[in-house]
């Protein structure tokens, strides 16, 4: 099975500013890949290139086997995306949101009907099928948003700070959903500022000033830097970053 994401010296420049500098890494199928970095390190730029939303300046990359320069529309069909900032339509019901997103991804009515029942069951939200999303607690919204983002069975799902501001119990339930999806073979590409969540990833990449400063499993990184937690690893690497802010 070839890696789901392959990048080689992938770079993005904005004028003189090198937002992402020669990123080279691979992500395997079904892997939970944590993409960490200080604000301003270049994470968003890198993610946007991988999602086919931003044309790289140089280097190579394929996502789900498709080229990030020429096959961006094909990439978009093979990926899911969710962030804390934008996820679902507040003024549509739970079912309407599922139908809407599944429809956007080209699923037919029969598939959508089946998927809707399946998701409502998995999330134990059968009683909320007709509830407006605006009336759901944030934690439920985020769990629903995740399920919707993988409703079209993408190869990869990009999660941008999915648990930001969520209560501690829901945050953990959310990670259990992530884990179950990865067991089914969905590759998870996730950013977070919660360092305990970094420990749940199979591998972690830490960006500093536009480059990947470290990439390995959490336990190997902790060994390498002689510290006990991912928070300490992150702190050691990002403390001297020159670029700050978003």
């Amino acid at each position: 099975m070839p890696p789901v994401i392959i990048t080689e010296k992938l770079s993005k420049r904005f004028g003189d500013f090198i937002a992402a500098n020669e990123l080279t890494f691979q992500v395997e199928k079904g892997e939970i890949f944590g993409f960490l970095g200080a604000n301003g390190a270049g994470k968003t730029t890198a993610m946007r290139m991988l999602c086919g939303l931003l044309v790289p300046s140089s280097g190579k990359a394929t996502v789900a086997g498709f080229d990030v320069y020429k096959q961006t529309e094909k990439i978009k069909r093979k990926i899911g995306y969710m962030s804390q900032k934008f996820s679902l339509y507040d003024d549509l019901t739970v079912t309407e949101n599922i139908r809407f997103y599944s429809g956007i991804y080209g699923m037919n009515n029969k598939q959508i009907g089946k998927k809707t029942l399946e998701l409502l069951g998995e999330l134990q939200m059968q009683n909320e099928a007709r509830t407006l999303v605006s009336d759901l607690p944030l934690g439920w919204k985020q769990k629903l948003a995740f399920s919707v983002s993988i409703a079209h069975d993408p190869d990869i799902v990009f999660l941008d700070e999915p648990t930001s501001g969520v209560d501690p119990v829901t945050r953990r339930q959310f990670w259990e959903l992530i884990y179950r999806a990865s067991e089914k073979g969905v590759t998870i590409f996730v950013t977070t500022h919660y360092m305990d969540e970094a420990e749940y990833c199979n591998r972690i990449s830490i960006m500093v000033d536009g480059v990947i400063a470290a990439l390995d499993s959490p336990s190997n990184l902790e060994k390498k830097y002689g510290v006990a937690t991912m928070e300490d690893v992150f702190y050691k690497l990002a403390r001297n970053a020159k670029r700050k802010g978003e």
Binding site: S164, V169, H193, M195, A198, E199, G245
Partner: protein, 300 residues
């Protein structure tokens, strides 16, 4: 310095309860943390205390002034940094700062000492429009503008949300310095690890205070022994631990599972995990953190 008595607030004609009967007080020079997830009521509380919103019931004072009757006096003696960036995007750093100083009848020069450490970090960009600043710089400018009239109380609504670990540490260092200069600070955060940096905290969820005390005392009041289970396969061992008959609760916490048992002398879990194939599983007693306490309080 701040008192709240039976504050209640609902929205949407009473359909949505934001605050249920909140009472507590904050002492002078205290660094007080409101810890809770989105939707807990933190922002509503800030807006009532900064006189931007009226409570349905109850009373509150800030610096001895009533939030309803003396609202003008409160506005001139508190600093407020909302969670959403609220400075003028099309004014520069310098213009924003001058504007806020003027509105409060003072000058940047007069209170420069208070903001100096923070302002020096953004001064190289003083001619840049606020809308073009990075998140970290906006945060620093926001803090400068909230401090420029030398407030006696500073209200900070989620200043570190979405901010990386390094910048968060720097921000809390700034708060410690401000506290030393005699400013009472009320700060909210969804990051439970930041609770330990406060003198006292209120854990808040769905408009209710779950617990209010010093972080150390909240941790002491955790009622049962807490164990950490370590096993290389976190989620598999989590699923298997949950099927153990004597388990009371179990959650993933970074590289370990935190578990409590119905019978505190029950040590059978390791043998059980071994039988499920987790040959490297280990068990130790641990001191709970604030997040453990929060989860425990949510459960009850």
């Amino acid at each position: 310095m701040i008192t709240l008595n039976n504050l209640k607030k609902t929205f949407d004609k009473g359909k949505v309860t934001a605050l249920k009967d909140i009472s507590f007080s904050v002492e002078q020079d205290e660094l007080f943390g409101l810890i809770g997830p989105d939707g807990a009521g933190k922002t509503t509380l800030f807006r009532i205390l900064t006189t931007l919103l009226l409570a349905d019931e109850g009373a509150a004072t800030v610096n001895g002034f009533d939030v309803v009757k003396d609202y003008k006096k409160i506005r001139s003696c508190v600093g407020y940094m909302p969670g959403k960036f609220s400075l003028y995007q099309d004014l520069t750093i310098e213009e924003n700062l001058n504007f806020f100083a003027t509105v409060f009848g003072t000058t940047v020069k007069e209170n420069y000492d208070l903001i100096k450490d923070i302002y020096l970090q953004i001064e190289p960009f003083k001619n840049r429009r606020a809308g073009k600043l990075s998140g970290g710089m906006k945060q620093k400018l926001g803090l400068c503008c909230a401090l420029i009239h030398k407030p006696v109380v500073l209200f900070l609504d989620e200043p570190t949300t979405g901010v990386d670990v390094v910048s968060r540490k720097e921000f809390w260092e700034m708060l410690k310095k401000l506290k030393k200069q005699g400013i009472t600070i009320v700060v909210s955060t969804p990051y439970m690890d930041e609770a330990n940096l406060c003198d006292r905290i209120a854990l808040i969820q769905k408009g209710q205070i779950l617990s209010i005390d010093t972080p150390a005392k909240i941790i002491q009041s955790y009622p049962e022994p807490l164990y950490a289970i370590k096993s290389p396969d976190i989620f598999k061992s989590l699923e298997d631990t949950r099927t153990y008959p004597g388990i009371s609760s179990c959650f993933a916490f970074g590289d370990a599972l935190h578990a409590t048992f119905n019978n505190s002398s029950d040590k059978g879990i390791i043998e059980y995990l071994h039988s499920k194939g987790h040959m490297d599983a280990s068990l130790e007693t641990i001191t709970p953190g604030i997040e453990d306490c929060f989860i425990h309080l949510l459960k009850n």
